[in-house]
């Protein structure tokens, strides 16, 4: 931590902290905002995918004659005729861009089928209708191979999950199993969570345009810079000739962080037919080619003394990846940080299945892990006859429970106090099933939210014109977080200029490289770059002015300059070493608490969420309006996870059975009550401007808060998400 950062964090600000309207709001409410599938080129051709209908196989023949005969079809690409791409690079910590290889499959370069839904052909046609129709006429012949598909059946064969530099996979402190045996009060529960899909409302789409060796790609991506590098590698062209444009991204939530088949095949098809190609995936194609969240089974066992002080915490998990790739989900990650106990045992296991690679979805690990630990804490409170808020306060740690590291900042006590007061928690009747309102059983639940804080370095340039206009240039990606808005606020304050004079250019790989939007890293990372670039700019202007007073415009005019530009470039190795050193002694996070009220229909078991309040300890808030939206968004997604969402995978065929928004139920208007959001607004002393990322924290704990409220309303503890009405009806 440096002193300048602390001073800044407490200095008066003009725009930082204000609920400013988002700068791209107008473009979005007028329909001017163009997304990846909405760029027109003369001669644009349209592509559609053909998906494998079996889980594991070799393709022995593929008949494309009928498809080719459809009027308007330009070409049908299969493994027999497609130009080859280079294989996807394996992950290497020395080149973080290798992280975006979503699977190890080299599409259309192999006769192997690795999952049910894998693209095995691409049809290119003059119209989207012709492409879609022709795609249904392609006939692959398969020689089927045995496939391992059933997550529940494979659970006993799970192997220990590997950790990495930033994420340990397991923890042991004392002897938790022995402590459990002697604890006066215990709970020992088994939880299950289903697969989920992101379902960003904009389905993945790519418009690819080749000009010789130069490539332009319009793509809804969370990772502009890494996508550019990946495409350059796969297509064997210089990176500087590849341009990725993503000024608007219609939601991502992790689903647009990696490079999936559709992107690659659009670029491949454009090269093959020598025309610009658009591949706009159907909703079903998104399910079949873009990974989702792993299912999990979890065990949480807690031991406590009669006063409710924890003596043992056990949290173990099994999740899955694909045999062809996927991210092992850190399911027990939050449990490393939540509660003090002398004995802790954490383990994560994984099974590999012949399914599409899973991937990160909003708060991977914490979202489903907190369902288990926070439900178990609630159940322990019932066993003890203790208020669940009080139980949490009694076990609130002073230092990080597994290793004694210091917290950079931790205000969960304050969050609980404020939340309980605002929500009217103490007024409730604590008995289960005792509160009724007509046919409704009413219950209240509480749970903790937690998400780790990470940062990556960003390159930023700031240009100050003689006319007083400021342009911040950074290849950040905006998928609704309000990223450009908050960076404009920060730059305006740093330079002391009106917000209206600042423009942020983003969403273009020809701008200075920024980290991807994922892991809640973007806002703070780029803020660090913006602050540094503004500092440098001010120094440059001071030098130009030789210490004489004057406004920026006057100084530039006197020096005969039309503009001044300051650039900052990240030094990745130095940054990584600093990060790793800091992580040896410090734990940083965003955290919060959820309070909710649910109503359960006595006869039908229908569950309605009627009230919600969250209090968040998420560092300094730059924009209370966009921050509230983001926190609410996580809660809404958590409501879906708790009550209605579930991807159904046929364990015999590996086929997703509900790949549509009609059959996979995301929350609608009527499912979402007013969500009251409060912040503690306490800067994190170790972060630029005191900011921490807020994109993911609020989904953590939501499912547990709902489950706990259902338990209070009905007396039924549901351990298996989603909490559908059949699970709460008696018998």
């Amino acid at each position: 931590m440096t002193t300048t950062e602390t001073e800044r964090a407490t200095a008066p600000a003009t725009y930082v902290g204000k609920p400013v309207d988002r700068v791209d709001g107008r473009a979005k409410v007028t329909g001017e905002a163009r997304f990846a599938a909405e760029h027109h080129y003369p001669d644009l051709a349209h592509a559609a995918l053909v998906h494998a209908a079996v889980a594991r196989a070799r393709i022995t023949a593929i008949d494309t004659a009928a498809a080719r005969a459809v009027p308007g079809v330009i070409d049908v690409l299969t493994h027999e005729n497609a130009p080859a791409m280079k294989p996807p690079p394996k992950f290497s910590p020395l080149d973080l861009s290798t992280f975006v290889s979503a699977t190890s499959v080299n599409y259309l370069a192999t006769d192997e089928v690795h999952w049910n839904g894998q693209p095995v052909a691409v049809v290119v046609a003059e119209t989207p209708e012709a492409a879609r129709h022709a795609a249904t006429l392609v006939r692959p012949v398969y020689q089927e191979l045995p496939a391992v598909l059933d997550f529940a059946a494979e659970e006993p064969n799970a192997v220990p999950q590997k950790g990495n530099l930033l994420q340990e996979s397991e923890a042991d402190k004392g002897d938790a199993e022995a402590a459990l045996k002697t604890a006066p009060v215990t709970v020992d529960l088994r939880f299950t969570t289903p697969p989920y899909h992101h379902n960003a409302l904009e389905p993945h789409a790519t418009t690819a345009v080749w000009d010789g060796d130069r490539l332009t790609v319009h793509e809804g991506t969370q990772n502009i810079a890494w996508l550019r590098k990946h495409l350059a590698t796969r297509f064997g062209v210089p990176e500087r000739g590849v341009r990725v444009l993503a000024p608007y991204v219609g939601g991502g939530f992790g689903g647009k962080a990696m490079v999936w088949a559709g992107t690659l095949l659009a670029v491949l098809a454009a090269r093959a037919v020598g025309r610009p190609v658009r591949l706009a995936l159907s909703r079903a194609a998104v399910y079949h080619t873009v990974g989702g969240r792993t299912p999990s089974t979890q065990r949480v066992a807690l031991g406590a003394d009669a006063d409710g002080r924890l003596t043992a915490i056990v949290h173990t998990s099994v999740s899955r990846t694909g045999r062809i790739g996927g991210m092992p989900e850190p399911v027990t990650a939050a449990t490393r940080h939540l509660y003090a106990a002398p004995n802790i045992h954490l383990r994560q296991h994984v099974v590999e299945l012949d399914l599409l690679a899973n991937t990160a979805m909003r708060a991977p690990g914490e979202a489903i892990g907190t369902f288990a630990i926070e439900s178990a804490m609630d159940e322990l409170a019932w066993e003890l006859g203790l208020d669940p808020v009080e139980l949490r306060l009694r076990n609130e740690p002073e230092r990080n429970p597994v290793d004694g590291k210091r917290f950079s900042r931790r205000l969960l006590r304050e969050a609980y106090a404020l939340g309980a007061e605002r929500f009217g928690w103490r007024d409730r009747d604590p008995r289960a099933g005792a509160t009724r309102d007509g046919r409704w059983l009413v219950g209240m639940g509480v749970a903790t939210a937690y998400h780790p804080t990470l940062m990556l370095p960003a390159n930023v340039s700031v240009r100050l014109g003689a006319d007083g206009r400021v342009v911040v240039r950074c290849g950040l990606q905006e998928m609704g977080m309000g990223a450009a808005t908050v960076q404009a606020q920060i730059a305006a304050d740093e330079l002391g200029v009106p917000l209206e004079s600042v423009r942020v250019e983003y969403g273009d790989s020809s701008l200075p490289d920024a980290p991807g939007a994922g892991g809640s890293v973007q806002t703070a990372s780029i803020a660090g770059g913006v602050v540094a670039a503004c500092d440098k700019l001010k120094r440059m202007v001071r030098r130009l002015g030789r210490g004489a007073p004057g406004t920026y415009a006057e100084i530039l005019a006197r020096a005969g300059r039309d503009h001044v530009t300051a650039e900052v470039k990240a030094n990745m190795p130095v940054f990584m070493i600093r990060t790793l050193l800091e992580r040896r002694r410090l734990v940083k996070a965003a955290c919060g608490v959820h309070f909710c009220e649910v109503r359960v229909d006595r006869d039908t078991g229908e569950i309605r969420v009627s009230r919600w309040l969250g209090v968040f300890d998420v560092g300094r808030i730059v924009n209370a309006k966009t921050a509230a939206s983001q926190l609410r968004g996580g809660i809404v997604m958590g409501l879906g996870m708790a009550l209605s969402e579930e991807t159904l995978v046929d364990p015999r065929t590996g086929r997703i059975m509900n790949p549509s928004l009609a059959d996979y139920h995301v929350p609608v208007h009527a499912d979402v009550p007013h969500i009251d959001v409060h912040y503690l607004d306490e800067p994190d002393p170790t972060m630029p401007l005191g900011l921490v990322g807020i994109g993911e924290v609020s989904i953590a704990g939501v499912a547990a808060a709902v489950a706990n409220a259902v338990r209070h309303a009905t007396g039924v503890r549901v351990l298996d998400l989603p909490i559908t009405l059949d699970k709460v009806l008696p018998g």
Partner: protein
């Protein structure tokens, strides 16, 4: 067909959906497509003032009708209210939400129902065909309430 006030003479195959016609052939990309099967509301437009899912409508069925997309509603007080109440994040559902809200308010007025009956719960119920995966529902409802005051 009249689209946003302008006469359009078009020759389309019978299988082309209204959404694809508007997006691909007329360049009205304010019409979004989230599912192409009537499940998300992103493609909502107004046909003679009534809200419809244009992905479920065949273009030829709307011969002679007046179609209004988000490009044709401006300036509408709802647009400004959406920005002020932050009833959007990624913005992909937004044109559909706004068109749907305009249609919904007209339906409600035409039914002769008491404007005061259009409370939050009623707005939510009537807007439930328009999904927002970013979860901007609170802001959307606030924006709609705001323009009805």
């Amino acid at each position: 067909m009249r689209v946003n006030g302008a006469e359009e003479k078009l020759d389309v195959e019978p299988w082309v959906s209204l959404a694809d016609l508007l997006r691909d052939r007329l360049g009205l990309t304010g019409v979004k497509k989230g599912c192409d099967q009537g499940a998300c509301g992103a493609c909502t437009v107004l046909a003679d003032g009534t809200r419809i899912n244009s992905c479920l409508a065949l273009a030829v069925q709307y011969d002679g009708k007046e179609i209004t997309t988000i490009e044709g509603v401006a300036p509408h007080p709802l647009q400004e209210a959406f920005v002020r109440h932050d009833g959007l994040q990624c913005g992909y559902c937004t044109p559909g939400q706004i068109c749907s809200a305009i249609g919904m308010l007209a339906e409600h007025a035409a039914s002769g129902a008491d404007p005061a009956a259009l409370d939050e719960a009623e707005i939510r119920e009537r807007m439930s065909g328009n999904l927002c995966r970013c979860g901007a529902y609170n802001g959307i409802v606030d924006a709609i309430k705001d323009v009805t005051r």
